[in-house]
Symmetry: C2
Subunit: 240 residues, 2 copies
DNA sequence: CTGGCGCATTGACCTGGGTTATCGAAAAAT
DNA sequence: ATTTTTCGATAACCCAGGTCAATGCGCCAG
């Protein structure tokens, strides 16, 4: 099966065979973890760059009173923090949501990679900018969308991102998120996420269950969400 | 008066005289604008890097139904989007909040700057990572803090950032934000921002009026906010 | 095969913050 | 100087989403 890291970066710049080879060889040394394991914790000194190859993870921050806010969902192909190494300590944690396969690319290796080809440099920059765009889109969602729009918007985003790395087959894809994780990501309670999911199911827009997302009516879902994919910087071809 | 751009980057790496000179000369060519002018709009092709020298601006996104969400507040010393030029179009707008003085640094110039010294490279990376940290902190605020904590948290952040570039004098600083802008930033309504401001004033924590922020009791404000400055990647010395 | 635990589901009730409206005071425009 | 616009301050009312509580299901460990 194709390397999702290569697949993702390949969307942002046309990679030569040599670029591809470099990326693949940087992923040679893989590790497996169980679900709910932290790869790195808030306060830790930043380590290598993590690249997700299988399974999902998330960035998150724990609150004093015990709640948590998920800051980003990481799926295969996603990587974290090209440059964090220059910071003194992590300001958030990263943990797996499912059993996962990932690579750690040491900082020097990463720099060599970036320096080795203009296409790779460009691809990494774009990936970074898209990640920032996603952060901003989350802020927009939390600030100005109600719970239904918010959930629909997140599902549109995740669906497109998953499709970009080949994780979807016409209208449904693997999405191993519990309602609790979704609630932690959207700033809602699990109870309310459940209510909204029911509503979206009844509306015939989408269904989420048993780790799988089924998009029932893309148009309708995108309309509910007020979804515009410009922040992902690719043309929206949901119907494809 | 000192160049806030130099001042800001100087916090992140020790700049040689040569570095300082380079930065200052990149700011030679300045422009003035009135308040409420867009520097660039969503959908526009990305242009040069903007560096704020005087006055405030914000990144924002307009909603279909007319609302807007402020995504970041830019004060003197802040700059935007080192690498946006690689993207096809802007996914949000940037507009001034006050009359402003700023510089536009063309992309090539920016690249020369970054390439010209390891200290500058490092400083730009850190600035970028801190900006991302701020985005994440906003997500945490919107997801998990109530309106009072949220407003207090934003004021702590802005106070520290303003102090970093020399805009504060013991406990008060210029902060030309209307309650409407604050509401747009926090995902609240202006009416409610007003209520919360009154509450914080009565509590003796802070006062915001006539474009000026007065911190009345730092400890109390930070406690209300649940503020931890680790995401700004500098030691918190609010009392200094 | 069974007990336990995390997750999903649902109901009843409550509250933080939204909505709408009004008024006076600044500030900006002419 | 005066008109116009924007901003801040408050009050009355309402609802989206939180809170609390109870139940059931599926899965894994023993």
């Amino acid at each position: 099966m194709p390397n999702p890291f290569v697949q993702k970066l390949g969307r942002y710049a046309s990679l030569s065979d040599e670029d591809t080879r470099l990326l693949e060889s940087a992923c040679r040394d893989t590790r497996r973890t169980a679900a709910r394991r932290d790869l790195i914790r808030e306060g830790d000194p930043p380590g290598p760059v993590f690249v997700m190859l299988e399974g999902w993870a998330c960035r998150y921050k724990l609150m004093r009173e015990g709640g948590r806010q998920v800051l980003a969902l990481l799926m295969p192909g996603d990587f974290c923090d090209m440059h964090v190494a220059v910071l003194d300590e992590m300001d958030h944690s990263i943990g797996t949501l499912t059993p996962a396969l990932y690579t750690e690319i040491p900082r020097e290796r990463m720099e060599t990679l970036i320096a080795s080809s203009p296409a790779l440099t460009r691809a990494f920059w774009i990936a970074q900018l898209v990640d920032e765009g996603v952060l901003r889109a989350w802020i927009v969602s939390m600030g100005r969308r109600d719970s239904t729009e918010r959930l629909a918007h997140l599902m549109c985003e995740l669906y497109i991102r998953a499709r970009n790395v080949g994780l979807c087959i016409d209208g449904h894809c693997e999405m191993p998120l519990t309602q609790i994780v979704i609630a932690d990501a959207l700033g809602l309670t699990p109870v309310h996420v459940n209510r909204v999911l029911r509503k979206l199911k009844v509306a015939g827009a989408m269904e989420l269950g048993r780790g799988t997302l089924h998009i029932r009516d893309v148009e309708s879902l995108a309309r509910i969400a007020g979804f515009d994919d410009n922040y992902l910087h690719r043309r929206l071809k949901l119907a494809a």
